[in-house]
Symmetry: C2
Subunit: 570 residues, 2 copies
């Protein structure tokens, strides 16, 4: 009975997988420590919030989630969005930020639980690659920008690129040379490590996979070196400081009702963006393993994880692509890797928080910059540019939106533009006048093929579903085609590409049928799809139609040409 | 040289048409007098504003418009929208309403001139029949409701159905019994006139058309009778009163900048709704006469007419369907009918404004109620209900929106819903597994026809353009179909109904092609449309494709089955 409540991966856990998950858990831990501290600081919160967010939320996702290797916890995007939301609260003391961020996590979690109940996971389908690509790249640039003040050892905040740049310029005179030297050294080391540590380790005789893994863990070495440098050289730079020791606090986050009402847009945005982002990461991991992810289940698991983060002193969590990929590379077989990593983190929190005291913030910022700059992916932009400039424009508009207006507006703009683009594409459909490929039963566009036509029969293929936004355009085009061919007595619409006829288009067809009949032109239909035919039958339009319905273009042409000869005989 | 500046209808005017236009001008006049007074009152303005709006705007439309019989001038919808806009201005004295309404007309006119310059007429295409139907019917109900207080002889205003009902209930104790009796009598007379005057006149020996025309002019008789009753019985009811005599004032409407800023949404709404409404009326008149209307030219002419209304003491004008139909019925051949009617109106304004003094407002309200209730058209709702309930839902939502939220929100809701409905319809496309109709080259849905299939080749027709909102759905469905047919070695996508492939869908196809290749399944395409093929070629996808491109489904199946035998031979 109890076993039923356990997740699938735990019920069917094979002992042989344990060593693999154990190794992966250590990889996760060395990534979670610097990322947890750094993302908490990025969100404008005390560093321990990032460590708290790496424990209970991980356990909760492991319980409900469908992905075996997804690493949920502190992540760049929700941290940036939390920072933006907190920065917008002018009346609140920074001391209250932790409680408010926890409340945002709780509410965005509950929101997702409700949406999962309503089976709302399908919304992920309405984000196009251009929107997601532009959004992720824009966010990465914005996150890098937001870290520049830390690299320079100054304080400067803002939620758009302009604001950050302006604040940075104003703060530049207070530049801390020691911090700048530290971060420059850290960036150089990280870059070198990324570039050369793996080949070096391979040359030292390590196997491909192990070398890759050690190279991925390199950031913690740099962070540790930074701590050593601060202590040894007595550098005057900002450090993490002494963290409170002990378990994550279990508490109901209290926040002012007025303040929370102002944060509702942020809750909504973090809820949706966090879900979509995590779902895409889970899906790309699943595709590699030929598994499938259920969007509603992911929405639920992520909602539960965020609610847990809110109740245990954390802040909004999400999946991290970098950490999930490293987890997979380290050989993780199940969510047990994350669960064990959470255990390690708990041990550190209870007994070893002192080790973080002298870690310099500048070096943590450098690790964020390196991690996040990998998110900037221009491949989809290049593809779109080559394939369809309008898709590329959606990408660029979303990217610019993130930088200049903020993440929420950017998503709204991107989705609205991509929907508008689709409507626009379908509002002026391609019409092809058809002729017969000589000696065959095939009919093709007269502009693209050498084909035969009949002066009294005009056959036109409509290359789009007929609906309100294009029916007038289609009618106008058909009238123009008929005017060019005054001998026409039969208009044949080939509906092989018409998947939907909505009621506006039906009304338009009825009016056209009536108008053509008055001019002595009969309207015929061919290759009507099953679902469309069922609907037309129900509407009574087929009784009004002046002409006939034909199964194929060829059958229609045969019948119509035969009818012409019959006319002559009479 | 000068002749070029004249409109087409005037340059080619035939003398023989003059008597017809003269008769029609009288019809227009007897309609314009009660409608002008009543719609001005509906808009919350002094009655003469309606007479002014029937002169210069008519001349201006005649100069630029493309419709021969469209009657532009005071109309129900823009009057209601003006009333709503004015009612929203709490800080303004009613004495300033006329200047503000004129400014709204001027600005909405200039807006349309600018939009016409930008060739924005195509927006009319984005309103579905369901939205227009629900909007017009809802507006008619709202206008009837707004006249009920006048019928009862009380004052009660509001811009939504609730507000009007509430104000009416509160004002009911002040009910004016004489007004109620007058309006009841007027409504009965108008109804009887509409029902029986034409048959009666026919029985008196009048020709069909003349009887119809006289019946249409009946409302002015009722209004005149109302005036006589007020004078003869000394009724204590509200009357039009003495109107200022003289030409329409030529003046620049002055209004407070702050006030106008608040009115911008109304200007935008009146500009767009007025255009769309007029365009639909012009189009339905043109369809009868086998003419075409150019949306951009109509937008321009209507913009100029409204600007003129604003500069000559009028208020927002639009086409009236009832008046235009009566004009046509009266035998109007050109816009000269309207021009002459404007001349008559000018004569009345200069010398005979006294004739309006004792006309009772209750009877004018009764004429509006009768005229407007004809706008309630449920035929499109019935059609939609039978054809597709979701279209009917859009109709009802728009109608409810007009009544409960206001006209602007209703249009926005309607357009958003109809676009969402189209996106929703296309986001879960129909996929048909195809088989060969025995002995033919035709391939049809295996669920609908008796057809032959090959276990190693899965042919699927995708009945929708592929784009971001449906590519994941399509991939999931294809994976499910492949899972049901584990022997499949070739997947053939028949793209006869795919009119567009956007970059998200292209990316999805690339991933699927790669994924299938790893599982030993080749991906083939057939019946790729010209424009789609051009684009796919440019993208480089065709080089990656594991399978081939075929001109027809039959050619593809022949080739794939032949390849199977070749495999056996090897």
């Amino acid at each position: 009975m109890m076993a039923r409540l356990l997740p699938d991966w735990l019920r069917h856990y094979r002992g042989a997988d344990l060593p693999h998950d154990l190794v992966a858990s250590l990889t996760l831990l060395v990534l979670l420590i610097p990322q947890g501290l750094a993302y908490a600081l990025l969100a404008g919160l005390p560093p321990q919030a990032g460590l708290y967010a790496s424990i209970v939320p991980v356990l909760v996702y492991a319980l409900f989630g469908s992905s075996a290797t997804l690493s949920v916890g502190p992540a760049a995007l929700p941290s940036l969005m939390t920072a933006t939301a907190l920065a917008g609260l002018s009346v609140v003391k920074p001391a209250d930020y932790a409680a408010i961020a926890a409340m945002v996590a709780l509410l965005s979690g509950v929101l997702r639980l409700v949406l999962a109940g309503l089976r709302f996971g399908f919304v992920a389908n309405f984000l196009s690659q251009s929107v997601v690509g532009g959004f992720v790249s824009g966010s990465a640039v914005l996150i890098v920008l937001s870290q520049v003040p830390q690299l320079f050892g100054v304080s400067a905040h803002g939620s758009t690129a302009w604001q950050i740049a302006e604040a940075l310029l104003a703060a530049l005179p207070k530049l801390n040379v020691e911090a700048l030297a530290l971060s420059a050294a850290a960036l150089l080391l990280l870059y070198a490590g990324k570039r050369w540590s793996k080949p070096l380790l391979r040359r030292l005789g390590l196997a491909e996979q192990r070398a890759d893994l050690l190279a991925k863990a390199f950031p913690i070495v740099v962070v540790a070196l930074g701590g050593v440098a601060v202590t040894a050289l007595q550098l005057q730079v900002k450090v993490v400081g002494v963290l409170p020791a002990g378990l994550p606090p279990l508490r109901w986050p209290v926040a002012d009702v007025e303040v929370m009402r102002g944060l509702l847009p942020a809750v909504l945005a973090i809820g949706l963006v966090g879900f979509v982002d995590s779902f895409f990461i889970a899906q790309s991991l699943a595709l590699k393993r030929r598994e499938s992810v259920n969007p509603d289940r992911e929405l639920f698991a992520l909602g539960a994880a965020n609610a847990a983060a809110g109740l245990t002193g954390g802040f909004p969590v999400s999946a991290s692509f970098g950490r999930s990929a490293a987890n997979e590379l380290a050989g993780a077989r199940s969510q047990l890797a994350g669960v064990i990593a959470a255990g390690w983190m708990l041990l550190i929190l209870v007994g070893m928080t002192g080790i973080f005291a002298s870690l310099p913030l500048a070096v943590l910022a450098a690790t964020i910059v390196m991690a996040v700059s990998q998110m900037i992916d221009l491949s989809i932009l290049r593809l779109a540019w080559r394939y369809d400039r309008r898709d590329a424009a959606v990408y660029l508009a979303t990217l610019a939106g993130v930088l200049l207006l903020g993440v929420v507006d950017a998503i709204l703009i991107g989705v609205a533009l991509s929907l508008a683009l689709f409507i626009w594409r379908t509002s002026q459909p391609h019409l092809a006048v058809l002729g017969r490929v000589p000696g065959t039963e095939h009919y093709r566009n007269i502009l693209r093929y050498e084909v035969e036509t009949n002066p009294q029969v005009l056959a036109v293929r409509v290359d789009e579903s007929l609906y309100f936004a294009n029916i007038r355009f289609v009618r106008t085009r058909l009238v123009a085609l008929l005017r060019e061919r005054p001998a026409t007595r039969d208009l044949l619409l080939v509906l092989s590409a018409v998947n939907v006829i909505d009621v506006s288009a039906l009304q338009g067809l009825r009016e056209m049928n009536r108008g053509l009949a008055e001019q002595g032109v009969r309207l015929h239909l061919a290759v009507v799809k099953g679902p469309v035919m069922d609907q037309l039958k129900r509407s009574g339009f087929l009784d009004e139609l002046s002409g006939e319905i034909h199964l194929s273009t060829h059958a229609a042409m045969q019948a119509l040409v035969a009818a012409q000869y019959a006319d002559y005989v009479i």
